[in-house]
Structures are given as structure tokens and as C-alpha cells.
Symmetry: C2
Subunit: 192 residues, 2 copies
Amino acid sequence: MKQLEEMIRQKGIGIGTDIVKVDSFLNHRIDVGLATAMGNAIYEAFKDQKVDLILTVEASGIAVALTTAQAFGNIPVVFAKKGDHVNVGNDVYAADVYSFTHKQMNSVRVSRSFLPEGSQILIVDDFLANGEAIEGLLSITRQARCHVVGAAVCVEKGFQEGGKRLRAEGLKVLSLATVESIEDGKIILREE
Amino acid sequence: MKQLEEMIRQKGIGIGTDIVKVDSFLNHRIDVGLATAMGNAIYEAFKDQKVDLILTVEASGIAVALTTAQAFGNIPVVFAKKGDHVNVGNDVYAADVYSFTHKQMNSVRVSRSFLPEGSQILIVDDFLANGEAIEGLLSITRQARCHVVGAAVCVEKGFQEGGKRLRAEGLKVLSLATVESIEDGKIILREE
């Protein structure tokens, strides 16, 4: 998606060989016009399918999940909660997800009542690297006997294995921008 | 705000004397049409003031912060991060916030570069109870030498002290719905 790629070129910061810092517009400060445009782009890619709800994981997936849900005509967003939330209760679907950012295992949880059996689900998240978060959400949707129509992410790290593995499993994965590599602090994007 | 009050009456769950459970439409599953309407309502209350950015705290404040920012014509959202985020770095404003939900102190942090001195800031959050989260965000804005035009929340627990204290400090506080009390599992809303 051109608008996101342009923003990554202008404001993204590459660190070392694998850190893509986009917190000035995506996951700490949010460029709301861009977030809205990304939601529309995700809708365009999945609009031919029946989608009942958007599933994401807190916190930085919420913004684009919401704008995607708006584009689908205000369908619900459900965001999985991390850790042992007091308020979530025990009647949950849960999966363990390894966080590379925090170097620890996180439990992600969704209340059972918010994933009715048979729901058609689109997974949305900000980043796809090793695919752990999306695998966790897929596990939750399997427990809930829901059908996942695909996964859409803003930024895929093309040099990590998550996207390749998820596509090999048959999942439709849309990345609005794919980082090929990081060279001397510069983020190199994959050309379409 | 009628639409929110109606939803609280229909789907909110009162537990004990002080827990207001609205996770079926506000902070776990998000009713996106309602979130958009709440953003518009917050805009209506603050549209006569210059607002440069919306400040909130992850995770459940993000949705309404985003829809409010859309109503203001796509101004940026900055969300404070909880805990010791590896990705936030050290160049941050920080404040300690006690979480009643998790019964622990959380550090909330915002990168300095996202709060330019002199910015006009509207604080948005999902809940106002004891006011700890908003006090933390106010501390961060003072450190950043920004001006807070007000705070808007979806649900205020009118029987806790946060709203009263913040208003006594001179802050303009907008609550889209105020819970007066919880009686036998029923949420009693304050009449306008």
C-alpha cells in the first residue's frame, strides 16, 4: 500500500538487522488518517468474503482493527487480552504466545461468549514477524470452532518466517507493506 | 449520551457494589458503531477548542481515542504504554499509576518526541473511577509542558472520587455516561 510504504520510507527507523521502528505513526503515536486508509485497504482485499468480526490482540492491533471494522460497515472488533487479566474471568479461550519484544511467554485470552461458533473471522494486527501472535489467535479461533477468512497486517518482516509459514498452511495473508531487509539503518521494502 | 446509556442498561453487568462490566461492547469486544458515535460526541463537546492531539493509555482507551481523532479531522493519537516496554526506549516521560484492576503499580510512558512543547491535548479514556490513569497522563503532559484542554471518558463511576477531584482541580471532564450505583447486579445511571 503506497501511503504506508511512503510513511515507512520517510519515518520508519531500522535498527540492527531486524528491528523496524514505526512508533511515530503506527504503534505508539498513531497517524489516524493512515490508520483509516489502511482499514479501507484491508476491506478492499477481503470485501468479497463474509466477515462477521475482526479479531486482534491488544494493544497496537486495535487501531487498524477498528478502522477495518468501520470499513466493513461497523462490524465488531474483539481484541484478545494479554496476561492474566482479572476482568476476563475463566470462561475464556486461551493460547500461549512468545513475545520477542518482551522476551517472555504471554497468555492471550478471549471470552468465549464473544466468539460464537461458526463466526467468519478476519484477523488484523500491526506486525507479522515470526507469526506467534497470529498463530495464537488461530488457535483461539479453532477452539471456538470459527472460520478464519484470512489475516491482514500492516507491516510484515519478510526476512522472518511467520508469513511464509502461515501461507504454507493455506491462510490468506495480506501485508500492506513488507520489509525485505534493514541495511545500515535503512528499511528496504519489498517491491510488488 | 443516550446510545451509550442504552447499551449499558441493556448489556452492562454490575458486580458487587463497584464493578461495572462493559466488556461486551467497550473494552474486550468493541461495538464499532457505538465507538464511532462516542468519538463524535466527544468532538461535539470540545470542538470549540484547539486540539492538536488525543492522548490515551493502552489498551482499552485506544478505540475511542481513535474515533475522537477521526472526528477532529484525523489528528494524531498518542497512547501511553504500560510497564517497561523494551521498544519505548529511555527518552520518555513517565508516571506511576496504581491499577485497581490488577492491584499493582504500573509505570506509564510516552516518548518525549510525540508530545511537542505547547501542544493542546485532549485526554480520552474508557473509564474514570479513582482517576489514577488520568492523573498519570496529566503528570506526563506537565512534564512535556503541554496544555490539557480537558478529559473525556466513556463511563465514569460517579460513586468513586476521581471525577470529583479532577473537576475540583479545574479540569474540564466529560463523561458520556455516569454510573450512580450498583444495586443487586443492576447498574443505576445518573440522570442528566
